[in-house]
């Protein structure tokens, strides 16, 4: 892959639920390897659906996604969606509601996929897991069960679990929305840490402070299409589109 080739190329993405509720209506996004994209927009505008499609969790009605130069997802006409599971493995996702496995302790959550998907040895996976947990300040929680953790700790474990598979792209779907306000920072710190290490990511968030601090690029998504796309100072500070401006004013109005 050359430096100029996009990491992700989304073309003409269409997605509806039951053919009635049209969520994505011809979405085009090109993302470079160095990009940290924050997607903002009104609820129902397709942000979370976009992430779920990118993760290969949803069927699509039309369009295609190319990842790292390889065909990843495409609608093949007869209502079926072709998803390349191998390509999917290079993408990691963190969800709003943690989705840790409640029957496994923290380290068990981290090593399951490396062992089952990559055939890694237990000792090896555990060593990597401990290193990650230490880095995230969670080493002493390795033997705890998810139910014994705070929301912020759970979400940091979820991030560590996704990182265990060395993803080339990370997706964060409203990862701080379910958290108590005082726990938001510890999760955002971890994501900022990843950003510093040049991890490509797509983030859906309602937290404009976080958006401004982490994004290299902000996309405003509404009505299932990209309305505005640019550097954070521009999209958040002086948006060109009327709909973006309205949204940003409303969000900041509520915030302050």
């Amino acid at each position: 892959m050359s430096d100029t080739a996009p990491l992700v190329k989304i073309e003409g993405l269409h997605k509806s639920y039951g053919g009635v509720v049209k969520v994505l209506q011809g979405l085009d996004i090109e993302m470079k390897a160095g990009d940290r994209v924050v997607v903002i927009g009104p609820s129902g505008g397709g942000k979370s659906t976009l992430l779920r499609v990118l993760m290969g969790l949803e069927q699509i009605d039309g369009g295609s996604i190319v990842f790292g130069g390889k065909p990843y997802i495409s609608a093949n006409g007869n209502g079926k969606t072709a998803i390349d599971a191998k390509v999917r493995r290079s993408i990691g996702m963190v969800f709003q509601h943690y989705t840790l496995f409640p029957h496994l302790d923290v380290i068990g959550n981290l090593i399951l996929a490396p062992m089952k998907v990559r055939g890694e040895k237990k000792a090896e996976a555990e060593a990597r897991a401990m290193a990650l947990l230490t880095r995230f300040g969670l080493a002493q929680k390795a033997k705890s069960y998810p139910a014994q953790l705070s929301g912020g700790q759970k979400q940091r474990v979820a991030i560590a679990r996704a990182l265990m598979l060395d993803p080339k792209l990370m997706l964060f779907d409203e990862v701080t929305s379910a958290l108590d306000p005082e726990l938001v920072a510890e999760v955002e710190q971890v994501i900022l840490q990843l950003a510093k290490q040049q991890m490509p990511m797509v983030i859906v968030t309602h937290d404009m402070w976080f958006a401004k601090n982490i994004a290299s690029r902000v996309i405003f998504c509404a009505g299932g299409v990209v309305v505005e796309d640019g550097p954070p100072e521009q999209v958040l500070g002086s948006p060109r589109e009327e709909r973006t401006r309205e949204f940003i004013e409303r969000v900041f109005h509520i915030k302050h």
Binding site: R52, M55, G56, L57, A85, R88, R89, I91, G92, M93, F95, H97, T99, L100, F101, P102, H103, L112, A113, K116, V117, Y145, P146, A147, Q148, R161, A162, L165
Partner: protein
């Protein structure tokens, strides 16, 4: 009226053999019945309409008829239909396994359903195969959630197993009844028999509460 519990002591060996038969039968039917129940639970949630229909008919029929009738039917009618001789152990095992399968399938079905959509999404996002997802995520959670109810099912089975005495299997109940008839001491003998059942069943019902409180709470399942 005078009681003479010493009578029972004379027959303790027979009672032990009866109890051993009851435990053996119960354990065999727990293992077979749980395996059957799990498969039936999968069949009831399957995409195949025939599997779904057949498994539903089975479960509803066995839940909606008395175990004694099921037992008699398998003991007296099944050999006639199949044209083979069935020992009373075999028919006892068949009947109680089918009973256990029916009630535990409902338990498994509920617990499988309780493994949420989000857990499956997480599995896909981690690249887990369908097999790895089933064996490492869905199954352990379903079994843990099912554990208290399943243990209650086992206790029910243990108690219901006394019905096999009606088809002449020498279980604890059968032995007790015989001793009581021969000694004309029904109060002493049947009280002791009841106590033996209770001493085994009671700790198990307490264990159900412990599992619910300790394990499920720790895992927040």
């Amino acid at each position: 009226m005078t009681f003479n519990f010493a009578v029972v002591l004379k027959f303790q060996e027979a009672l032990f053999l009866g109890l051993w038969m009851t435990l053996k039968l119960t354990l065999i039917c727990i293992v077979l019945g749980c395996a059957l129940g799990f498969l039936v639970a999968l069949a009831r949630t399957s995409k195949n309409a025939i599997l779904r229909a057949a498994s539903s008919v089975y479960v509803e029929f066995f839940r909606g008829t008395p175990v004694l009738v099921q037992l008699f039917w398998i003991f007296f009618c099944l050999p006639l239909i199949l044209g083979v001789e069935l020992s009373n152990m075999t028919s006892g095992v068949i009947a109680l396994t089918l009973y256990m399968g029916a009630i535990s399938s409902e338990t498994f079905r509920a617990s499988l359903k309780s493994v949420g959509r989000e857990q499956l999404d997480a599995c896909v996002a981690l690249g887990l195969s369908h097999w790895a997802r089933t064996t490492n995520v869905v199954l352990p959670q379903a079994v843990l959630r099912a554990a208290p109810t399943l243990l209650s099912n086992c206790v029910s089975l243990f108690k219901e197993s006394a019905l096999v005495s009606a088809v002449g299997m020498a279980d604890l109940m059968f032995v007790g009844q015989n001793i009581s008839n021969n000694t004309a001491r029904p109060i002493e003998v049947l009280t002791i028999v009841a106590l033996i059942y209770f001493v085994i069943a009671f700790p198990l019902t307490r264990a159900v509460t412990v599992i619910e409180r300790r394990i499920l709470k720790r895992l927040a399942l």
